[in-house]
Symmetry: C2
Amino acid sequence: MPSETTAPFAARGSHDEIEEGLGFAPKFDRDGLIGAIVTDAAGGVLMFAHMNAEALKATIETGVAHFWSRSRRALWRKGETSGHEMTVEELRVDCDQDALWLKVRVAGTGAACHTGRKSCFYRAVATGEGALGQPLSLVDDERLFDPAKTYGA
Amino acid sequence: MPSETTAPFAARGSHDEIEEGLGFAPKFDRDGLIGAIVTDAAGGVLMFAHMNAEALKATIETGVAHFWSRSRRALWRKGETSGHEMTVEELRVDCDQDALWLKVRVAGTGAACHTGRKSCFYRAVATGEGALGQPLSLVDDERLFDPAKTYGA
């Protein structure tokens, strides 16, 4: 799965080139993956997933989000089963080029999470003195679709 | 660095418990790390970093963002050098509990990136037909502080 070749991406240059240059030299980890943060236009984080070079290339070329499914070990066009395809409105890379940020428009119900919710981040962790060990609390918990109907049992 | 013990976090239970339960059972990877997306109140992604169990515990207990610096191999209270401390306004976990989302308020100039910019994501990647291999374009490129003065040479 990891690939030695960086083409069609730029080779990783000096620290300064990576941070200040305009060559796109994404850093894939030892599994050949790079993390991708997905938000909607309003700025809410919808999901976090991984891309390999193939998924990143497909995302760039089609303008539709593709990821690498670590559980299925396969290229994954988001929405291929559920219909919740993600059109990329903007793609950004961070300073050291080892993380991506996709702003997307989600088709269908607008749900990004396989549990049927809009966002995968539907639970909050308490913070502050005495918060360690407290249970999570549900936020943005509405189900926009029924996963049992969409994905089967 | 990786730790076998999950305390004070919950043990990883069944798939259903992890996704639908209220026990906080963060999944640390083989390096003992979990990815953390940091956004501001307006929803812009400021940075992406990693936490180990110690950094996550410190973040929860103090309400101030702590990470694990992979380059320095040390616990890192964000802003300890630059003054850009991050107060956590909300901490969330995703469906499979292997990613975190912090909404923060940044002290000082409000810059999250060590390059002096507000966000680490100051460059956009072109998408669409013919976009592969195109140079990055600068966006949100304003420097809020001078890194040479803050961090030294």
